[in-house]
Structures are given as structure tokens and as C-alpha cells.
């Protein structure tokens, strides 16, 4: 057997891609295809098929999504690997290694500063191990329990005495050390399109020594306002919706938080970004927790890389660290510039950098 690669066209190969995406990642692929593959402010995605040259059957695929990032205080372009799927009969590393190398190609050609992948489990690391690469950082899930009923039902069963126990536990969960709100900070819900003030905040926080996603207005609008599945009711039930909270001091935007309220009763903190997060971040998280309680949700989850400053903010707000939810493996090329680019940088990665 001989395997070969084919780079795809987002227009001509759309239907074949969708067939594979539906087979591997579920039925809801059509709605988001254009948005995800062609509408990102950083440009169109690259995608490849690995196919059997004899039978011409497609045996594996992957996509590289362009992302605006900041590296060491400077704007840069990265690619995020996603939609990595290999037919079970071909999970012998060869096709996966071939595709992974293909995702390095835009970096080697100078089109991207680096690319990164976020394997959620150890199996996903096998290709990188074969290539002699290891994780640059790990991203951990954090949880804030709002309602303990599900926790007790899992351990004790759906017994009559579980409700009083969980009610008492919920009261305990609400008892927290009273904390003074940050002086002059006004937190409010934000429902409009993201505008220039977000781009300015993003640029003003371009810190040296840090790798993170750009929060410019076009990127935020693409992610939170233009996602066709957010706020859309599906036949199988509502998908959920984004909530954006902004923190202002004397009218000036200083920080914001974005969380996603899932239809199944949990919420995910997607982004928390801004100045003085040790204060503003905790106030934003308090406001998010209040909204989640009001909506009757059972827990609020967050993601954060091991070396991020956000770990302290989440801990201060009462979040508990859970399991490693993904590893970040990056490739910046083999030349001197590439290998130096990511060295010594701190990975400020949260959900927004990891999600596709």
C-alpha cells in the first residue's frame, strides 16, 4: 500500500470533507463549516486528506485553522490543528505522522509563525512522540460546584435523603469569605458587537514573554457573535449561549469575561482577560457565578494552562483544579528563528486558545 497526501480546497472538496467530518465528529458539521473554515479573520483553513493511492480511499484527514496570536508581546500568526481523524484500520501511526508533518508545512514555508495541537488524551500524543516532540504545556480543567445534588446522586443514588443533604451542602458552598469589591469597578452584561475598545485593550496587554490568543474585535466577533451554533435552538435541544461580562473603571474597559451556558446545566468559562485580573478577574468571576446560580446551573468549568497567571485567579475565586484536559504541542520550524521563537515563553492558554 502507498499512502499519499492531498491538500484540499475549501470550495471544491467541501462535500467530501463534510462526509468525513460528520462520520468522525457528529452530524452538526454543516452549520459551522463556512464559519470555521473560511470566515476566520486570520484567513482560510488548510486541510489535507491522506489517501490510499491504490484504492483512492481517504483514510485520514486533518485541518489547520489560522489564529491571530501574540508571541513575546508581538502580533503573530499561528495555526491550530483540529479535525484530526484516522480510519480505525489505519491507526498504525504512519498516516497520522504524515498528516502531522503536513500541518508543519505552512510554518516551514513562512506563512505561519508556529502551529499547535491540543491533544485531549495520551493517544493523541503518540504521533508527537514518534516525531520526538513533547508537550509545551498542559491545560487543566477547573470546576466551581454550584449545586451538589448531582455529586451526591452519583455517590449515594437517587435516594429521598439526597435532596436535604445536597441542599445543606449547597448552603455551605455559598459561604465564602466576604471580599470587598474592587473600588470603582462596574461590571455589566455586554450584548453588542465587539468594537475598537476591545482591540485597544488587547494591544495594551501585549506582554513580553507570553504566548496567547489575540482578543481583537474581529476575533471576538467571529468567536462569540458569528458562531452559527451559539444561541441556535436545535431539534435535539438548545445548544446554549454565550454571556459576556465587561468590567469598566470610569467608563473605560479594563477586563472582560465570556462564558458559555450549556443547555445541559453547566457553564464553561471561555475567556477571562484584562488588566489586574487578581482583582477585576475575581469580580468578573463572582458576577459569572451569580448568573450561573440564577440560571440554576450545577457547575461552572474553566480551563487554564499550568503556567498561566489565571491559575491564581481561579483558585482565589474558589475554583478547584481537576484533571489535565489537553496538552499543547507546538512546532515553530527547524531553523534558528523558529526554534528560538517559543523558547522561554509562558503559555497563557485557556479555553479560547484550545477550542476550535
Amino acid at each position: 500500500m502507498t499512502l499519499a497526501l492531498r491538500q484540499l480546497s475549501m470550495d471544491d472538496d467541501r462535500e467530501e470533507m463534510l462526509t468525513l467530518l460528520r462520520r468522525n465528529f457528529g452530524a452538526r458539521q454543516d452549520t459551522r463549516f463556512e464559519w470555521r473554515h473560511t470566515k476566520h479573520p486570520a484567513g482560510r483553513a488548510w486541510a489535507w486528506f491522506a489517501y490510499d493511492k491504490t484504492s483512492l480511499a481517504t483514510v485520514a484527514m486533518t485541518t489547520l485553522f489560522p489564529r491571530n496570536m501574540y508571541v513575546d508581546g508581538k502580533p503573530g500568526m499561528a495555526g491550530q490543528v483540529g479535525e484530526f481523524a484516522v480510519n480505525p484500520a489505519y491507526r498504525c501511526l504512519g498516516p497520522a505522522v504524515m498528516l502531522q508533518r503536513a500541518t508543519f508545512d505552512p510554518v516551514d514555508r513562512g506563512l505561519l509563525d508556529f502551529c499547535y495541537d491540543c491533544p485531549p488524551h495520551d493517544q493523541g500524543m503518540s504521533t508527537f512522540r514518534r516525531l520526538g516532540m513533547s508537550a509545551n504545556t498542559e491545560v487543566f480543567r477547573y470546576a466551581y460546584v454550584l449545586d451538589s445534588q448531582e455529586y451526591f446522586e452519583k455517590r449515594l443514588g437517587k435516594k429521598a435523603y439526597v435532596r436535604p443533604i445536597s441542599t445543606a451542602a449547597n448552603l455551605l458552598l455559598r459561604i465564602r469569605t466576604p471580599r470587598k469589591k474592587s473600588r470603582g469597578l462596574v461590571i455589566s452584561s455586554f450584548q453588542r458587537a465587539f468594537c475598537e475598545e476591545f482591540t485597544e485593550l488587547d494591544a495594551s496587554l501585549a506582554s513580553p514573554g507570553v504566548i496567547r490568543a489575540s482578543r481583537s474585535a474581529p476575533n471576538l466577533n467571529w468567536r462569540y457573535r458569528e458562531d452559527p451554533l451559539a444561541s441556535v435552538s436545535l431539534p435535539t435541544g438548545s445548544w446554549g449561549r454565550y454571556e459576556v461580562l465587561v468590567a469598566r473603571r470610569a467608563g473605560e474597559l479594563v477586563a472582560f469575561a465570556v462564558f458559555f451556558l450549556h443547555a445541559d446545566g453547566i457553564a464553561s468559562l471561555v475567556d477571562l482577560f484584562g488588566q489586574d485580573l487578581g482583582e477585576t478577574g475575581i469580580d468578573l468571576l463572582d458576577a459569572a457565578i451569580h448568573i450561573c446560580r440564577r440560571e440554576g446551573l450545577s457547575s461552572l468549568h474553566a480551563s487554564c494552562s499550568a503556567d498561566s497567571d489565571l491559575t491564581t485567579v481561579l483558585a482565589s475565586a474558589g475554583f478547584r483544579r481537576r484533571e489535565c484536559s489537553s496538552r499543547v504541542v507546538a512546532y515553530a520550524g527547524t531553523n534558528e528563528n523558529g526554534s528560538q521563537l517559543l523558547t522561554g515563553q509562558k503559555w497563557e492558554f485557556g479555553k479560547v486558545e484550545v477550542m476550535l
Binding site: 484500520a89 498504525c92 501511526l93 505522522v97
Partner: protein
């Protein structure tokens, strides 16, 4: 070169020790390892390390094709070929 039966036994012992599904389902010479869900990419990586270490061979990316890892038989044949002609790649 070790006798063919020894190579096969060593691989079989490794497979049964390493892959719980192989122990559970039993492993015949023609059991489909990849399609049967016994071995995935991480499993392949483990097999590659085992073969390289045990038989002092080098396995190239081009060798990582389903024909070589499909069954115990193909795996044994592949190992024997690599031992006999260490420089040979599959493609």
C-alpha cells in the same frame, strides 16, 4: 537471527502483556489488530519501541502502514523482514 517461532512468541507475549483487549478477546494469528480495536496509534508506538528494542532494528515512518500491523502474522513477517534486511522500508 532468532528462530521464527521465537520471534512470534516474543511478539505474542508482548501483545498479551500490553493490550488488555487482546487478553480479553484472545489473540489468533489472523485477529485484526487495528480494525478490531486492539491496537491504536499509541499501541502502535508501543509495538514499534518493543520491536526496535527486542530485535535491534530501526523502524522508519514508511514502515508504519496497516499491512505491517494488521495481524500477529503480518507483524511477525514484518519483524522477520526487518531483522533479515535492516535497511528495508516498506514503501
Amino acid at each position: 537471527m532468532p528462530p521464527a517461532a521465537t520471534i512470534e512468541n516474543q511478539i505474542l507475549t508482548f501483545m498479551l502483556r500490553t493490550f488488555p483487549t487482546a487478553r480479553k478477546l484472545g489473540l489468533r494469528n489472523d485477529t485484526l489488530l487495528l480494525e478490531g480495536g486492539i491496537v491504536d496509534s499509541l499501541g502502535t508506538l508501543n509495538i514499534v519501541s518493543f520491536l526496535e528494542r527486542s530485535f535491534n532494528i530501526t523502524i522508519h515512518d514508511d514502515d508504519l502502514v496497516p499491512e505491517n500491523f494488521a495481524t500477529l502474522d503480518t507483524l511477525t513477517a514484518f519483524a522477520k523482514k526487518k531483522i533479515e534486511c535492516p535497511g528495508t522500508a516498506s514503501l
